[in-house]
């Protein structure tokens, strides 16, 4: 073998081929609102938990669609369920149920 002095490091590019399509469709099945987000960031901006630690439903959803489950769960783990995001969401997404459903589907114990 010829050594080339560099190795293929894991790409930082999001690989959409590897995303978990099945789980996401399951999520959409129990909370169809998962498809409605237009990424305005209202939920993240108003989040009560967000003042303590990064918490973002918008990013979490994006993470799930891009196959980054761990990041998504971490972004929601501090959620206090206060419901402010539901109030401010311009698409009328039931954010609390969405968060609950994401946890139910993706949290493996």
């Amino acid at each position: 073998m010829v050594e080339f002095g560099f190795k293929l490091s894991p790409s930082s590019r999001i690989n959409l081929d590897l995303r978990d399509k099945a789980s996401f469709s399951k999520l959409v099945e129990i909370e169809p609102d998962a498809l409605k987000c237009m990424a305005c960031g209202s939920c993240t901006a108003s989040c009560s938990a967000g003042i303590f630690e990064e918490t973002s439903l918008r990013s979490a959803l994006l993470g799930l669609q891009n196959g980054d489950k761990e990041k998504a769960l971490k972004l929601l783990s501090h959620c206090m369920f206060c419901g402010k995001c539901t109030m401010v969401c311009p698409r009328g997404i039931n954010t609390r149920h969405l968060i609950l459903s994401i946890n139910k589907i993706y949290q493996v114990r």
Binding site: C40, G41, S42, T44, A45, S46, M87, C89, R91, G92
Partner: protein, 333 residues
């Protein structure tokens, strides 16, 4: 015999249509609920994309309407459908037997106080796009700000405000106003909080570029709430979605870009005629492509924002085609 045409709404659409129809030789009656003609145009200072003075445009629109019977400060009291005409009683006591009716009732601005979390009517520094135009016209005062923010989509694209649709003109208006503010208060920091920047028309992108070059900061994120600091300034919270971080910034003036809602007085007229409205509250047209000026009623036509948010050029085009449709209709009759 001259046919009677009644035009309801003396904004740009009503004015343009009436001037054309009167030149065609019809007997045109224009009804406007306000004391002055011009609708929202009369309250605006300058227009995007090139900063044309609203006043100049309005003047030339009104100048063309010679021969039109204008009733300002007048509203439609009742409308009845007769065999081939409409019997309209106006609030000034006059009854008109109209062979054709043109609804150019336009829009109302979204009531910004309904978005309570933005604090319009609660904090002094929170104003609307209309207030800012009044300021530019010298009829409204604001304190010299160190930082100004613009919130796009207030009452538009918002199910909570009962209006999921885009109001089409606010993005360009906001960018125009932001430039104007920057020109007025050179020292001030200017921020635009947008969800999607919809600069779709000719020269609009140039306006965007101009704003960028002037140093206006565009933040992709919707403002979620506004609080007051102990010094009485405004603490604005949003997410900078591009860097995935919640941000806060202290401002002195926050301009809410109130969107377009169906005109309430227009709705009252439509209600008497049993006109159908779509889910967004604007009148439904006969179809969505070929007969945009026609309604489901014979002899009743639309022009302008009565059938949904439109820019000024769109509105004026519609006024002209409505005039032509009315002429066709009356000639055939």
């Amino acid at each position: 015999m001259k046919n009677n045409i009644l035009i309801i709404g003396g904004g740009p659409a009503g004015l343009e249509a009436s001037s054309i129809l009167v030149k065609m030789g019809y007997n045109v009656i224009l009804v406007e609920k306000e004391k002055e003609l011009g609708g929202h145009l009369a309250k605006w200072d300058t227009l995007f994309p090139d900063g044309l003075k609203a006043e100049d445009l309005l003047k030339s629109l009104i100048k063309k309407t010679e021969g039109v019977k204008c009733f300002t400060d007048t509203q439609v009291q009742s409308v009845n459908i007769l065999d081939k005409s409409y019997n309209v009683i106006l609030s000034n006591g006059i009854t008109v037997l109209a062979d054709a009716l043109l609804l150019a009732t336009g829009f109302d601005l979204f009531k910004a106080e309904k978005k309570e979390e933005y604090g319009y009517g609660i904090y002094e520094g929170v104003i609307t796009n209309a207030d800012l135009e009044q300021f530019f016209k010298g009829k409204f005062s604001i304190k010299k700000p160190k930082a100004v923010g613009f919130v796009h989509c207030v009452g538009s694209r918002d199910e909570k405000a009962c209006n999921p649709a885009c109001s089409k003109v606010c993005c360009a208006t906001a960018v125009k106003q932001a430039c104007h503010i920057k020109e007025t208060f050179e020292e001030a920091d200017v921020f635009c909080f947008y969800m999607d920047l919809r600069m779709f028309g000719r020269h609009y992108e140039d306006l965007y570029l101009k704003a960028q070059k002037m140093g206006i900061r565009f933040i992709r994120g919707r403002v979620s709430e506004v609080a007051e600091t102990s010094e009485g300034r405004l603490l604005v919270k949003a997410e900078d979605t591009l860097s995935s971080k919640p941000i806060k910034v202290t401002l002195d003036t926050l301009v809410l870009m109130a969107g377009m809602r169906p005109s309430e007085s227009g709705y009252m007229v439509g209600h008497q005629l049993n006109l159908s409205v779509e889910e967004d509250g604007f009148f439904s047209t006969k179809d969505t492509m070929l007969s945009l000026q026609k309604s489901n009623l014979e002899g009743l036509f639309f022009a302008g924002a009565a059938t949904g948010p439109k820019t000024l050029p769109d509105t004026l085009h519609e006024a002209r085609s409505a005039a032509m449709e009315i002429d066709n209709y009356l000639t055939k009759k």
